[in-house]
């Protein structure tokens, strides 16, 4: 966990340098950190910032969300994974006060999205999957409008817009018409709109959709930076490697049901029957294969060229014992490597690909 926090911290630092445009306009912008004003009205740190309680949503006979429950604490990034039509967007829209559930409740900072949407909206920023922008406006006007809408006036509004422009790197194109923005720039603008009022909770529905690799990395870094500053982030994405890197917790959802929830490592451990081990030898492949098959905790031994793959149902100690045994049996080992199952593997194992 410490390592992960350290990595996130490093990423965040590099993000400030990489994402925020260097050069004349923003040369001193690095100093303008995005700092949510938690001192004002921040709810008790022990209570979850996002809490979904037994949420159900049906559309006719289709059960889009079914008995969904999870929590996200302040400063956490929660990844929502699921195939198309799994119920991710519906759950997020309920949290974002845009839809009503059939049953259950969704809470933001201890307030119900259903019964107190006005209070929730002040505490939350939402970036929907398909969002529109006003074509006749430019970036600064767009952010200025939303800053006004969130009740920011005078210097507070001016500073909020400037800070958001700098944070999202849009200050270089502030007077450009939205009509002329690329997809990536629009995504940044929409993210800027979602954070202009410094929310405590950020809900991002497929934020990296349609972005080029560089923009994706930059967006990921931005999200990590926001989380570091105490914002609870709920993010959905199809790009699982991306989520694995930035999320503290993930929830795998299919057909409206939450199939697994926890940290990526926990889910991997819980869903995995062991680890995949690759062994490369100089010779005696068949003999080694037979010896390996006879060992306890080992299954699915296959020989491919000069390498042997096997499934080891044990921990690192078992893996070490296996390597020691191979050497003691005088096999000429050139490579012995284990590969943990990726989030994609886990996802494929847990989900069935069924759609509603």
């Amino acid at each position: 966990m410490i390592d992960k926090m350290q990595i996130k911290s490093n990423i965040s630092e590099s993000a400030s340098r990489a994402f925020l445009p260097s050069g004349s306009v923003s040369s001193a912008v690095d100093a303008i950190a995005y700092t949510p004003t938690f001192a004002k009205g921040f709810h008790q740190a022990s209570t979850p910032m996002i809490e979904v309680r037994r949420l159900y949503r049906t559309f006719g006979k289709t059960e889009a969300v079914s008995d969904l429950s999870f929590e996200v604490m302040a400063g956490q990034v929660f990844g929502f994974i699921g195939p198309n039509g799994a119920g991710k967007t519906t759950s997020m829209r309920i949290l974002a006060t845009l839809e009503l559930p059939t049953y259950g409740d969704a809470m933001i900072d201890g307030l119900s999205s259903i019964n107190d949407p006005d209070l929730v909206r002040k505490r939350m920023g939402f970036m929907p999957d398909g969002f529109g922008t006003y074509p006749n406006m430019d970036c600064v006007e767009y952010l200025d409008f939303f800053a006004r809408a969130y009740g920011l006036v005078g210097k507070d509004r001016i500073n909020a817009v400037k800070r958001t422009l700098a944070f999202t790197g849009l200050d270089k194109i502030a007077s450009k018409s939205i009509r002329g923005l690329s997809k990536g720039m629009r995504q940044r603008l929409c993210l800027g709109r979602a954070i202009v009022h410094q929310p405590k909770v950020l809900i991002l529905d497929e934020p990296a959709n349609g972005l080029d690799p560089r923009a994706r990395i930059e967006l990921r870094q931005l999200i990590n930076q926001l989380a570091q500053e105490g914002v609870a982030v709920l993010v959905s994405s199809h790009i699982l490697t991306e989520l694995a890197e930035m999320c503290d917790q993930v929830g795998i959802i299919e057909r409206g049901k939450l199939l697994a929830v926890g940290s990526v490592a926990d889910i991997q451990a819980a869903s995995s029957s062991g680890r995949e081990v690759h062994v490369r030898l100089v010779s005696r492949m068949e003999e080694a294969s037979q010896w390996l098959s006879s060992q306890s905790h080992v299954s699915l031994v296959t020989v491919e060229g000069d390498s042997i793959s096997l499934q080891l149902a044990g921990d690192v100690a078992d893996q070490s014992r296996l390597l020691r045994g191979l050497i003691q049996q005088d096999f000429d080992v050139i490579e012995f490597a284990s590969k943990e199952r990726s989030l994609e593997d886990v996802f494929m194992q847990i989900t069935t690909g069924a759609v509603q």
Binding site: S27, G41, I114, G132, D144, R163, S175
Partner: protein, 567 residues
């Protein structure tokens, strides 16, 4: 640590950076003192007003309309003046020019701007900006009001650009300031009503299933509205010149002013309906609309009273019977318009599902007295049904009190009524008042019963309610005509007791209703009311919920933040 302003300071070497930085400064800080003043003033305006003004004034629609308006003004002025030469030197030509200017103004104000307002709302839904807009703390009422204000600002530009032309018509003689002002006021109010209707239509179809149909309806409505208004106004402008100085015109102006005020109450009603259509799902908008409808009725009673007052002032030199007759006709007309008002509102009220969210339940009346008098404003088809019946009954009774007072003012009730009857015959307004109340109770009661029994959890309940009401009306008209034709020996329908279900026919024949007809209507409507009363309990047993402590805490936090910001 550098400040934000320092962060945005730019070296001279980067022209792009300088451009953007200067835009940020200009829009947010203001470059000149006027800019800065405007930026500060903008903080006090509705955010949606600022945003929509920026958008609409940059839009091609506004630019093209404005250019075309200028061209039309110049073209018409030149054409009218040149074709009036040499008569323009010795004959008044103001009216002729004014009629043209009214036409030029009516098109953008009553066709272009309302359609632009409709598109503005519809585009929010079509282009996916509606979600992000509603996510902001702006209330739906603020959103609709902001859009209405911007459309009015646009209209204001068109009015302002025509101001010198109206001055010219005055200089060319033939028009008075009143004959210029009244058409302008009428166009402004007509434009406002059409804008409000456009916003309502734009917000109704959130699923965008009927967008093409609604767009066409909106265009046709505005064109029809514009041409009707133009026809009325040109007639008025030409009549006005002939009757200027007539004392009756003062009464006409006063009546028109009151009528405009009355129309404005409908603009508010339409705005409330539009904001309910786009508002938060858990919010209760029904109660506000109900009480606004009630306020409209009170306003109309006031107008009716003013009408009676005018009639009393006109009795000098005229027979009392004739005044009574006019007052009685006015009262009957008033009852019919009231019934229409409550039918239109009522069909929505009786179609309500009546499921109260905890948010709505926090604001329910709490004490016994409040519950007795105010529960009828709670959402729900049952409370809605009783609410409209009580309101209409109240309006009819209070108007009747006015009417009796008028009679007594003429020398006592007995003598007054005797005078009235000698001049006219039956007390027809009482019959009309009773009939309209019973029809409302009967038809809306049937719609509600159908909803409660067969369409409890159905979607699109409002549409179903309207369809059911129209269907029952059709059965009432066609069925009674068919039955009476069958009964007649001459194949000509005659008014039978059951023909009372046929509203238009009954109003026309209200003087000669056959015996038993009114009694039958009273009996059937009482039965429908009784059946509805039996199914009312669910709406009335809902109790108020306490506000959760966390919500109270959050509201206190919000207040504290606002106070901090103010400091």
């Amino acid at each position: 640590m550098s400040t934000i302003s320092e962060g945005l300071s730019t070296p001279d070497s980067d022209p792009i950076a300088i451009t953007h930085s200067s835009t940020i400064r200009r829009l947010l800080d203001g470059e000149s003192s006027i800019d800065r003043w405007l930026v500060r003033a903008g903080d006090w305006c509705s955010p949606i007003l600022v945003k929509e003004t920026r958008q609409s004034l940059k839009s091609r629609q506004f630019q093209w309309t404005f250019i075309l308006l200028m061209v039309a003004i110049a073209g018409w002025t030149l054409f009218a003046v040149l074709t009036s030469v040499p008569a323009i030197y010795f004959q008044p030509a103001g009216r002729y020019l004014l009629a043209g200017y009214i036409f030029i103004l009516v098109i953008p104000a009553c066709v272009v701007v309302p359609n632009a307002a409709y598109r503005s709302m519809a585009n929010e839904l079509e282009q996916g900006t509606f979600d992000v807009l509603t996510l902001s703390p702006l209330s739906s009422f603020q959103i609709v009001l902001g859009k209405l204000a911007v459309a009015s600002v646009q209209s204001g530009f068109y009015f302002a650009s025509l101001t010198p032309c109206f001055a010219l018509t005055y200089l060319l003689r033939g028009v008075t300031w009143m004959s210029i002002f009244l058409p302008l006021a009428t166009i402004a109010i007509g434009s406002l009503i059409l804008i409000a209707v456009g916003l309502l239509l734009g917000s109704l179809d959130r699923a965008r299933r009927y967008s093409t149909l609604i767009s066409i309806a909106m265009i046709l409505l505005t064109i029809a509205g514009a041409f009707t208004l133009y026809g009325m106004l040109t007639g008025f402008v030409f009549d006005m010149a002939n009757t200027s100085g007539d004392p009756d015109m003062q009464i006409a102006f006063a009546s028109m002013f009151l009528f405009f005020l009355f129309l404005m109450t409908y603009v508010v009603l339409v705005i409330l309906a539009a904001s309910a259509a786009i508002g938060m799902a858990s919010e209760n908008y029904s109660t506000t609309i109900r009480w606004w409808g009630f306020f409209q009725s009170l306003f109309m009673v006031g107008l009716c009273g003013a009408g009676f007052g005018m009639m009393i002032s006109m009795t000098t030199g005229r027979g009392s019977a004739s005044v009574f007759r006019e007052a009685e006709q006015m009262l009957s007309f008033f009852f019919i318009t009231q019934a229409l008002h409550w039918t239109v509102l009522g069909v929505f009220f009786v179609s309500e599902r009546g499921v109260l969210t905890p948010r709505s339940r926090r604001r329910l009346p709490a004490t016994l007295i409040q519950r007795v008098f105010l529960s009828w404003g709670n959402p729900g088809s049952g409370t809605g049904y009783v609410f409209i019946l009580l309101c209409l009954a109240g309006v009819i009774l209070s108007s009747m009190i006015f009417w009796v007072w008028l009679i007594m003012n003429q020398g006592g009730a007995t003598r007054g009524i005797a005078t009235y009857q000698s001049g006219y015959g039956e007390l027809n307004c009482i019959t009309i008042g009773t009939m309209v109340w019973c029809w409302l109770a009967f038809y809306l009661g049937l719609v509600r019963l159908f909803m409660v029994c067969f369409a409890k959890n159905r979607a699109n309940r409002f549409v179903l309610g309207i369809v059911l009401l129209l269907l029952f009306q059709f059965i009432g008209i066609a069925g009674t005509l068919y039955l009476s034709t069958l009964e007649s020996n001459t194949n000509t329908p005659t008014f039978e007791w059951y023909s009372i279900a046929n509203i238009p026919w009954s109003i026309v024949d209200s003087h000669k209703l056959p015996s038993g007809a009114l009694e039958a209507l009273l009996l059937f409507s009482s039965m429908v009311i009784a059946l509805n009363w039996l199914t009312l309990s669910r709406d009335l047993t809902v109790v108020k919920l306490a506000v959760p402590p966390r919500v109270k805490e959050a509201r206190t936090e919000s207040k504290a933040i606002l106070e901090d910001d103010a400091d």
